[in-house]
């Protein structure tokens, strides 16, 4: 009985910790992004709220909560209400399969550092990321505003196009690890991360996840100087906040997936696994911010051309070539 209680406590503690860490990380990622962007543009960035602006996320939260949360008269009320929730929900649920450290030994029992190690974990991620488009699509449509609708149609088209190359870029990973379980994929990278073994797949996946995160240079769904704010033009208050937080949680998740699939997950010398994992994820997030500071937005036709005419054939070819090489080595 006490054993079970201890186990229960450990699990709850783990989940609570995961959840708090993710939300805090998402909130501070916003701050970090504003700071880093500002520095890259020779500005200061937020530095008034608390020391170095460290309390900025808190004040943002209070601001969002106290803002008026209104329903546009022309909107489809029901869809308008659930769209932001959907967007945050799909992002949060993806975390269930991401292993962020080797199994931990506490009080003489092992505690796996993953919420659940599904044997189809990779497909779970792909499935949820294909459902993630609904928040954006429904939000834009339900607003009944032309900017929102344009943003969501563009975004839908972009997300599905890059989802293809993302899905195809993980095929070589499955071939090399011969498993869909993310934990086993990380285990298989103990010696050498797949980013080095198969750089083309890594690059294709990297570009695709930048597009999936709807950020510059692929921020067509919310291109603010064309579409005001894109699909969430009509949203205010905490419902806008949910879209916003969902976007940053999504960023962390995509960073974690890149880490798990290509950067060797928690493997690394000297430091404990969890630290390595966090460092890698943060590095990927920094890369995202860096990209945003450096690159201009693509034109829509360039975006679609690149996805369909370059990334997709490359990803297919890469899958076939990897298969051929692995078979040839195996002979």
């Amino acid at each position: 009985m006490t054993e079970q209680l201890i186990m229960l406590g450990l699990i709850l503690a783990k989940l609570g910790l995961i959840f708090i860490v993710i939300l805090t990380l998402a909130a501070y990622l916003v701050l970090a992004e504003r700071k880093i962007l500002a520095r890259m543009q020779l500005r200061y960035g937020p530095n008034r709220v608390g020391p170095f602006g460290m309390l900025q996320p808190l004040s943002d939260l209070i601001k969002l909560l106290t803002k008026e949360d209104f329903l546009p008269a022309a909107a489809d009320k029901w869809l308008f209400l659930i769209a932001p929730g959907l967007s945050a929900l799909t992002a949060l649920l993806t975390f269930a399969v991401i292993p962020f450290g080797p199994p931990l030994e506490i009080f003489g029992r092992t505690l796996p550092l993953v919420v659940i190690d599904l044997n189809i974990g990779l497909l779970y991620f792909l499935g949820l990321s294909s459902l993630a488009v609904y928040g954006m699509a429904l939000g834009g449509w339900a607003s009944n505003s032309k900017y929102a609708l344009l943003g969501s149609i563009r975004g839908l088209s972009q997300l599905i196009s890059y989802e293809l190359s993302m899905g195809l870029a993980v095929v070589p990973v499955v071939m090399m690890a011969r498993s869909f379980s993310l934990t086993e994929i990380v285990m298989a990278q103990a010696e050498i991360p797949y980013a080095l073994l198969n750089p083309p797949a890594f690059l294709i996946f990297l570009i695709s996840i930048v597009a999936e995160s709807k950020r510059i240079p692929f921020d067509m769904p919310e291109a603010e100087n064309e579409l005001v704010a894109g699909f969430h033009t009509e949203y205010s208050g905490m419902r806008f906040g949910l879209f916003f937080v969902g976007e940053y949680i999504n960023l962390i998740i995509l960073g974690s997936m890149l880490t798990v699939l290509f950067l060797g997950g928690w493997h690394g010398p000297w430091l404990p696994g969890v630290v390595w994992f966090s460092l890698k994820v943060l590095a990927v997030c920094f890369f995202f911010i860096w990209v945003r500071a450096s690159l201009p937005r693509l034109r829509y036709d360039q975006l679609m051309h690149f996805g369909w005419k370059v990334l997709l054939p490359l990803a297919l070819l890469n899958a076939l070539v990897t298969g051929a090489i692995l078979l040839w080595i195996g002979q």
Binding site: L71, A74, A75, D76, K77, W78, L79, L81, I82, I116, L118, N119, I120, L123, Y124, L126, G127, S130, L131, V133, Y134, A137, L138, W141, A142, N144, L149, L150, S152, I153, R154, L156, S157, I160, F180, Y300, D301
Partner: protein, 175 residues
Amino acid sequence: MATWMFYILGAITVVATLLAITQRNPVHAVIYLVNSFFALALLFFLLGAPLVAAWEVIIYAGAIMVLFLFIIMMLEIAPGVEADRYGPNWLQWLPILLLAAALGICTLLLTGLDPVGSNGVPHWYASPRDFGYALFKEYALAIEVVSFQLLFAAVGAFYVGRPERKSKSPAGGDR
């Protein structure tokens, strides 16, 4: 327990599908249909076919329903044509409840697979590996036929959506 889950999931699927075909608002219908596919995927999971469950979500809920949404958006159907004056009415929350129920069962399923097998795995369980092997070993010809079907679909889709010759694309072509 597995039998109960089967019936609950089956009921959710049927109710969601019925709601989908009785909705007047096409986008709401799409949501109910996604719901139904989700419950269907869980049914496959329950029956020991995790790969098929994943396919159901990725292809049906994630790709085909997106196409439906696209078409509805392009058919110029604006939301809120029907009167919903005072915000949502409570019946409209049904899909969320359905989805929540489905998700709840999903969680039970993820290990609740126990009732059928002794070690948490039903004896008819088709692991992704076995499934892939059987599919590509015994149904090789079917796979190639599927690829031909996809080829025809690509050509057909292009001809349905092909712009008329010698005329500019519809007003405001690029967006």
